[in-house]
Amino acid sequence: MARVVVSVPPSAKKGEVIEIRTLASHPMETGFRHTTTGELIPRDIITTLVCTYNGAEIFRAALHPAVSANPLVTFNTVATESGTLEFKWTGDNGYSVTASAPISVV
């Protein structure tokens, strides 16, 4: 539960475009499915993912039920300075998970 994985290159050249991959372990229950006895399974999804680079927001995604279970989101950013990338997932039922990854820029 609540496991997340981020992949950020540990070091990069200044100005280089780096790829960041994020994966969160989450069922992304759509709210459209029923149990075998006909009860509706309530919606339970991750709604937002925010990535900050040394405190400045570089990426934000709004997720809807049509994103697969265990949502994978990959994006790019420019390596500007050494520091930390912080990731925050928030969702239904108070879901909130953070992760961070260091990067050294030479």
Partner: protein
């Protein structure tokens, strides 16, 4: 293997809620209206041009529950000319919106990869908003063999 007891439970559930599995007769219109409305919510009254956006996904989808999607937008990604947002829509899902990403000049390259649920054979559309406020889109027709969320009927 379904036991007799499980079968009776399922049968009772099906009898208790017979209407839920049936689609409304105008389901195609409802879906189309929901799809158009979702796009209007994002772009407003602005025109959406084709070009600049490349939506890369398999044309034949075996499993609609996890379809890899890559959206690439041609842009120099400078402070004055960059991609502000990327949105993804599917035509046949109960809710057309899939993901809406906000980026900026610091992205370097406007590429977004994710995995989507796609309910049925139909169009998938990616729309990108540029820093000058214009919208560009790309659409792909996909064939889905195993649908996501189809067991409940669409919409």
């Amino acid at each position: 293997m379904t036991t007799r007891r499980q079968f009776l439970v399922i049968a009772a559930g099906a009898l208790a809620a017979p209407a839920r599995a049936q689609l409304p007769p105008n389901v195609a219109q409802l879906r189309k209206a929901a799809f158009d409305q979702a796009i209007r919510d994002v772009v407003g009254a602005a025109p959406v041009r084709s070009g600049k956006v490349k939506l890369d996904m398999p044309p034949l989808v075996d499993n609609g529950n996890a379809v890899p999607v890559t959206i690439t937008v041609e842009s120099p990604m400078t402070a004055t000319d960059h991609v502000r947002a990327i949105h993804l829509f599917t035509e046949k899902n109960p809710q057309p919106r899939v993901i809406g990403a906000t980026l900026g000049p610091r992205a370097g390259r406007a590429i977004l990869t994710t995995r989507a649920r796609i309910a049925d054979t139909g169009q998938v559309i990616a729309i990108a908003q540029m820093s000058d406020g214009s919208f560009y889109s790309d659409r792909v027709e996909v064939v889905v063999t195993l649908s996501a969320c189809l067991e409940e009927g669409l919409i």
